[in-house]
């Protein structure tokens, strides 16, 4: 088998003369995507800003087959504003709100420029803004100012039910403001700033190799995927390819993480439907997956495995034991999943619940199971493969019931079961290849060279994207675009015709983590 080719996918950078020129390029690429396959379109994958001495630099990411293109342009120095992208590309809305929060630059013409992850009072916020990318420490303490959030106007008979930030259950902090006349949910507002931790700024000044520790703790339920995306960026800067056995170990952990996450969604959905036995069964399966991961590496979340240049160690479980345990898990999980998808009282709650229209999914570039459930498939493992994925069979793992593109909670769950089957298929292949590869090299030297590159990985929630700059062996800017951030922006759109009791199903079927959103 050939060694893995991490550098196979490209991430070129194109610098534009002005912001309007940049938006033209982005809008053109996104319009091409809407025109359908073959039109040469690209998916809008995010927009971030970086503080530089001369002003703010805007970077837009356009994902296509084989790589992700970065297009960037500088905001006119001293302007403090730029023409907004959101009127042209709606998916940019949350990104521009975040940039406004962190840098204080105003996207002029943005239809709804409310604070998102760091509400601050006062116009522009002055020097208080954290401004990622600016050398030196940020202000010692920045406190969000809730009074800067708008109060929404309500009509007669309408009232607002605030869910959160302290939720009813063991959940991450977020506030859903449900505006309802009683039972329907005509409108939903999200407040995600509560758990903003300033993660991106904490990368800055850290030795490049230490950054992976923080990446693993950016979105805990996707620790492996975040570590992979970060390390892919460093490996692309240093232009090194990880050894074949390391690439296989990475796939093993990434797919086990996917299993645990998808089982967690099944637990939440079954729990919401009041199916006690199903909740218990999937809970036990998930516990077994996490114990297997713990036995393999010492961490139940696969932390400490992925390091720049390879992996830290081989799994502490023999190939035969691993395959035996995975076989047991697969039999148990597939049987229960089949039963679940045949339980009509459960499916009644999922069918036509939380519908995301296919054209909206495509337009927004919805990621992971949320996109796939609405017929928009852009799986980084397939489209922009990395590590051992190019050499492993990622295709149809066996006879399946075909695509699920109804866009509802049921379709998203069916997509997850397909991915679970695919993960088992990949784990078996990777474990077999790893046994064959023998005691090969597990890491190569990955010098912290100066430079900048993108890295990506397909997390259980969808593609994770890291844009890393290194100078003098230390990180100078690390922009993180989690799938949770990108997909959550669609969350408030899917409640048409749904009622309050559908809420837990819709939330669970999105399967997002607020830690990755607020960062």
């Amino acid at each position: 088998m050939s060694p893995a080719a991490t550098g196979a996918s490209a991430s070129p950078i194109r610098v534009m003369g002005s912001v309007p020129e940049l938006w033209q390029a982005v809008a053109g690429a996104v319009a091409g995507l809407a025109a359908g396959p073959g039109a040469g379109g690209r998916r809008f994958a995010g927009l971030i800003a970086t503080q530089r001495p001369e002003g703010v630099l805007l970077s837009a990411y356009l994902a296509g087959p084989g790589g992700i293109l970065t297009c960037e342009a500088a905001v006119q120095p001293g302007d403090g504003w730029y023409p907004a992208l959101t009127p042209l590309v709606g998916a940019a809305s949350w990104y521009e709100r975040e940039i406004h929060d962190l840098f204080g630059v105003v996207p002029a013409g943005h239809p709804r420029l409310e604070p998102l992850i760091l509400p601050l009072g006062g116009e522009g916020g002055g020097e208080v803004r954290p401004r990622p990318g600016r050398p030196g420490p940020p202000p010692a303490g920045i406190w969000p100012d809730e009074h800067s959030l708008p109060r929404h106007v309500m009509g007669a008979g309408l009232f607002t039910i605030p869910h959160g930030p302290v939720r009813s259950g063991v959940l991450e902090s977020v506030e859903y403001l449900v505006e309802t006349p009683g039972e329907d949910i005509p409108h939903l507002n999200l407040r995600v700033f509560y758990k903003h931790r300033g993660v991106e700024k904490r990368f800055e000044g850290r030795p490049a190799a230490d950054g992976v520790l923080l990446a693993e703790r950016t979105e805990g339920v996707a620790s492996v995927a975040h570590a992979l995306a970060y390390c892919h960026a460093l490996e692309r800067i240093a232009d090194v390819a990880v050894p074949w056995p390391a690439a296989l170990v990475r796939v093993l952990h990434a797919e086990l993480e996917r299993l645990a996450s998808h089982l967690d969604v099944a637990v939440r959905l079954a729990d919401a439907a009041g199916l006690a036995v199903a909740t218990a069964r999937f809970g036990v399966h998930k516990e077994r997956v996490m114990r297997l991961v713990g036995r393999m590496c010492g961490s139940r979340f696969g932390r400490g495995v992925v390091i720049p240049g390879g992996v830290s160690a081989r799994p502490e479980v023999s190939g035969r034991d691993l395959l035996a345990e995975v076989g047991r898990l697969e039999r148990a999980i597939s049987g229960d999943a089949r039963e679940l998808m045949g339980t009509s009282s459960f499916l009644d709650r999922l069918r036509r619940t939380g519908q995301l229209r296919p054209e909206r999914a495509r337009e927004h570039g919805a990621l992971g199971p949320v996109g796939k459930g609405s017929g928009f498939r852009d799986d980084a493992r397939l489209a922009r493969p990395y590590d051992a994925y190019p050499a492993l069979g990622l295709g149809e793992p066996g006879p399946g019931p075909g695509p699920h593109e109804d866009g509802d909670a049921q379709a998203r769950l069916r997509v997850r079961w397909d991915e679970v089957r695919q993960s088992f298929h990949l784990i078996r292949q990777a474990a077999g290849e790893l046994a064959e590869a023998g005691a090969g090299l597990l890491r190569v030297d990955c010098p912290a060279a100066d430079g900048r590159a993108l890295g990506w990985a397909e997390a259980p929630q969808g593609e994770v994207l890291y844009d890393v700059r290194v100078a003098g062996g230390r990180v100078t800017r690390c922009a993180i675009r989690s799938a949770s951030f990108h997909n959550l922006a669609l969350f408030h759109e899917v409640f048409a015709g749904d009622i309050l009791t559908d809420f837990p199903f819709i939330e669970a079927s999105f399967g997002l983590s607020m830690a990755g959103v607020a960062r």
């Binding site: 969000p144 302290v166 902090s173 758990k195 903003h196 931790r197 607020m514």
Partner: protein, 261 residues
């Protein structure tokens, strides 16, 4: 009969009997780093090994490790296996923040006994009906999963009379996760104040104990101890369900003596 009933019976009892019976998985757990040899012959800048600054030394030059800052990255263990190793078992929690610093100083012993007695007096009336409320104060999302795991059939904390409640008004104990994000300071304070006395607060995870890698961030308080008073400190990145269960029982005084610190 519903097919789910038969499925539920398929595997028999999967529930652990810990703590009344030993559990191999609980005992084998690889907890925060620990010190094997506090006075190594060669000790050039051991503090530099730790990305969160958990390693320090006392005035007399012996090595100390603050498990409340340990994110279990394993660098110290890999670099100096003669000095550092892993702690084993679920007993990772302490009744004071200083109690997380290893090796323990002998003079903390009387203070520890007093803290244990005071906590026991407060929790005595809770007996076998304990209701938990959780607040996420800026976690990475993994601690929530481990707390929730306590409800799955493997741990099944209901067997111990421990339940999760939605309302702070019904809660006896508060599990707080995360590094103390500024946005959650006020909601956390309000939840704490909304709980009836006696109440017990457990800081779950290294981030909650000392901020971990997010200590010193502009958006966090470097741990939840700066926001509300904490009774039990549980490090871990994240702590596994058995460690969380150990911390709960420690707060309730339901562990055999000598298994706390």
């Amino acid at each position: 009969m519903s097919p789910w009933v038969l499925r539920g019976l398929r595997e028999g009892v999967v529930t652990t009997r810990w703590p009344s019976r030993p559990d191999a998985y609980a005992e084998s757990w690889q907890g925060p780093a620990a010190i094997l040899d506090p006075r190594p012959d060669v000790a050039p800048d051991l503090a530099a090994l730790c990305p969160t600054g958990a390693i320090g030394s006392t005035a007399d030059g012996s090595v100390r490790l603050d498990q409340g800052q340990c994110i279990q990255c394993g660098r110290c263990v890999a670099e100096r296996p003669d000095v550092f190793g892993w702690s084993r078992g679920p007993g990772n929690a302490a009744l004071s923040r200083d109690g997380l610093v290893v090796p323990q100083l002998p003079e903390t012993e009387p203070g520890l006994a007093a803290a244990r007695a005071a906590l026991r007096a407060r929790t005595a009336m809770l007996r076998r009906s304990v209701h938990l409320r959780h607040v996420d104060a800026g976690s990475d999302g993994s601690e929530e999963q481990e707390i929730l795991a306590l409800l799955n059939p493997v741990y099944d904390v209901h067997r111990l009379g421990i339940f999760v409640t939605a309302s702070p008004r019904h809660a006896d104990m508060l599990l707080v996760t995360g590094a103390g994000a500024h946005g959650m300071a006020e909601p956390l304070r309000r939840t704490y104040e909304g709980m009836p006395s006696p109440k017990v607060v457990i800081a779950v995870g290294t981030d909650a104990c000392g901020g971990g890698l997010l200590a010193g961030s502009y958006a966090t308080s470097s741990g939840v101890g700066a926001v509300i008073p904490v009774d039990v400190w549980l490090p871990g990145s994240p702590p596994p369900p058995f460690s969380i269960l150990h911390a709960l029982l420690l707060a309730l005084g339901r562990l055999a003596d000598g298994s706390d610190r």
